[in-house]
């Protein structure tokens, strides 16, 4: 796999890819159904789910599916996402990141600091959305909670939905921006040059036979 002349390097195995896309599909359904109730201007999205009551009925079940699927994904990627000293420096040089001056950035390993922060933002927001979602789940659970807990839960749910969605907008754009990235999650492999340019630290470890 890591033979020096092989033009592609494996980044995600089949299970990881399926897990990622299962989570992503659930996420898209949740965004469409959730945002339909977020603001009146988006209520028309309920039509995609068969109307208002069906949207209200389906959304929490899809939420449970995504929570379970994301939990598996988070466990798979957990150990790759601890911040290093290089990551702190990388974050200080965000203008260089945005301007594609990658040569000025400290050496990035398997994930850069932006990817890691996105990971942790999902680790915080998705379980919070799950817990607050349970509290506001009509008709099953809401009646068991005091009214003010219920009010706080629905406020947090909307806020964390916003944070999560904004994070995913960045996640999707980063994949479009950095060419050659999407095939990592579709085919599982990335070009050798892609790894050298964007993840030189990881490339070194591959070369030394420490990874893959």
């Amino acid at each position: 796999m890591s033979a020096h002349n092989d033009p592609f390097i494996q980044r995600y195995n089949t299970q990881e890819r399926l897990n990622h896309w299962f989570t992503a599909i659930a996420f898209i359904l949740l965004i469409l159904s959730g945002f339909s109730l977020f603001h009146p201007s988006l209520f028309w999205l309920t039509n995609l789910f068969g109307g208002g009551p069906w949207t209200r009925i389906l959304h929490p079940y899809i939420g449970v599916v995504m929570f379970v699927s994301f939990s598996a994904l988070a466990l798979r990627f957990w150990h790759h996402n601890f911040l290093s000293k290089n990551d702190i420096q990388w974050l200080k040089q965000i203008p260089d990141v945005i301007q594609n001056h990658e040569e000025k950035l400290p050496e990035v390993d398997r994930y850069n600091a932006g990817q890691k922060l996105l990971f942790w933002s999902m680790v915080i927001t998705i379980p919070t959305l799950f817990v607050t979602g349970i509290i506001i789940w009509q008709p099953w659970f809401t009646p068991y909670f005091p009214r003010n807990v219920d009010r706080f839960a629905v406020l947090l749910h909307a806020f964390f939905a916003f944070v999560m969605s904004t994070g995913i907008i960045v996640h999707v754009y980063a994949a479009i921006w950095v060419k050659g990235t999407i095939r990592a999650m579709i085919r599982g492999t990335v070009a050798r040059g892609w790894v050298k340019k964007h993840h030189p630290g990881w490339y070194k470890r591959i070369e030394q036979g420490q990874d893959h």
Binding site: F38, H39, D150, I169, I176, K179
Partner: protein, 290 residues
């Protein structure tokens, strides 16, 4: 709108104004707690007119029956025994929707037209538009709306909007044998209340007063209370009811701002792609040694 006598002023989850040219009078129900004998004729009339029936419950040592408001019981006599001025007082309060001028339920509702406020002040639930999310229950500062276990729709007092539309008084008013319940224009009801309060003060209830809480913009159901300084004596009537700040933040300016921020993020990404461009691997990257 079919019912011109009930022009819709505000509609849930609707961001443009309702028809505003016509100026019908505001109506109000006045509940004179000091005249109420607790006969529950209003409860019966409410169920009779609205074609709902409460299940037979169990006695738990109080005249209060059923124990709480339900999807079938839109009004309820609440019985409280309290000691005031070394007297045992039996305070009976007809509980139900207060028809707030600034309704928390309507503010919280995400479904267009599921909650409507007529220009005459009545706040009504249109169950056919209700999606069963229970947000109105979170919005209400009086703990009034009840979700049905049968159909997951929310129900509450309509102030008999169907009767008022054709010039009749609400069913409960019609049934009250002591005229503890009266109905008319809000101005007339305030005048009537002022007379009653003056009488009560003469009789020694120096704290008698009108309950028309300003925190929700006033209500279209008002109480005459002998202890207006302590409304909580009447089975926990809120002293200064307000829409919870959590609901106001949740349903206020924050959501349009959040949508704009997300649209900004997408637009920012697009402009970045056009302005700075994608990050591509060149052939030299491909060949150079890491």
């Amino acid at each position: 709108m079919a019912l011109q006598s009930l022009d819709i002023w505000r509609r849930s989850a609707t961001t443009t104004p309702g028809p505003s040219q016509r100026e019908p009078i505001e109506v109000a129900k006045l509940i004179d707690v000091t005249k109420c004998i607790g006969c529950k004729a209003c409860q019966s009339a409410c169920q009779e007119w609205n074609d709902v029936r409460e299940e037979v419950g169990v006695n738990f040592g109080s005249y209060q029956n059923p124990h709480d408001l339900t999807a079938n019981s839109w009004t309820l006599m609440r019985f409280a025994e309290v000691e005031e001025n070394n007297n045992l007082e039996w305070l009976i309060r007809k509980d139900g929707c207060m028809h707030c001028a600034d309704p928390g339920c309507l503010k919280a509702c995400p479904s267009p037209g599921a909650i409507i406020q007529y220009k005459n002040g009545i706040v009504d639930f249109a169950q056919e538009n209700c999606i069963g999310c229970g947000y109105c229950i979170k919005g209400c500062p009086f703990n009034i709306p009840r979700i049905s276990k049968e159909d997951s729709k929310v129900y509450k007092c309509t102030l008999c909007s169907d009767r008022v539309a054709v010039g009749l008084e609400p069913a409960c008013i019609k049934a009250c044998p002591t005229q503890a319940l009266v109905f008319g224009s809000k101005e007339d009801m305030k005048d009537h209340a002022a007379e009653r309060i003056a009488e009560l003060k003469e009789r020694g209830f120096e704290n008698a007063g009108l309950y028309d809480p300003a925190g929700v913009g006033g209500t279209h159901v008002m109480y005459v209370l002998h202890h207006a300084d302590k409304p909580e004596l009447y089975s926990g009537l809120a002293k200064d009811p307000q829409i919870s700040p959590m609901v106001s933040i949740w349903k206020g300016i924050t959501k349009p701002l959040a949508l704009m921020a997300m649209a900004g993020a997408i637009l920012g990404g697009f402009f970045h792609y056009v302005g700075i461009g994608p990050n591509e691997v060149e052939e030299e990257d491909e060949e150079k040694k890491a």
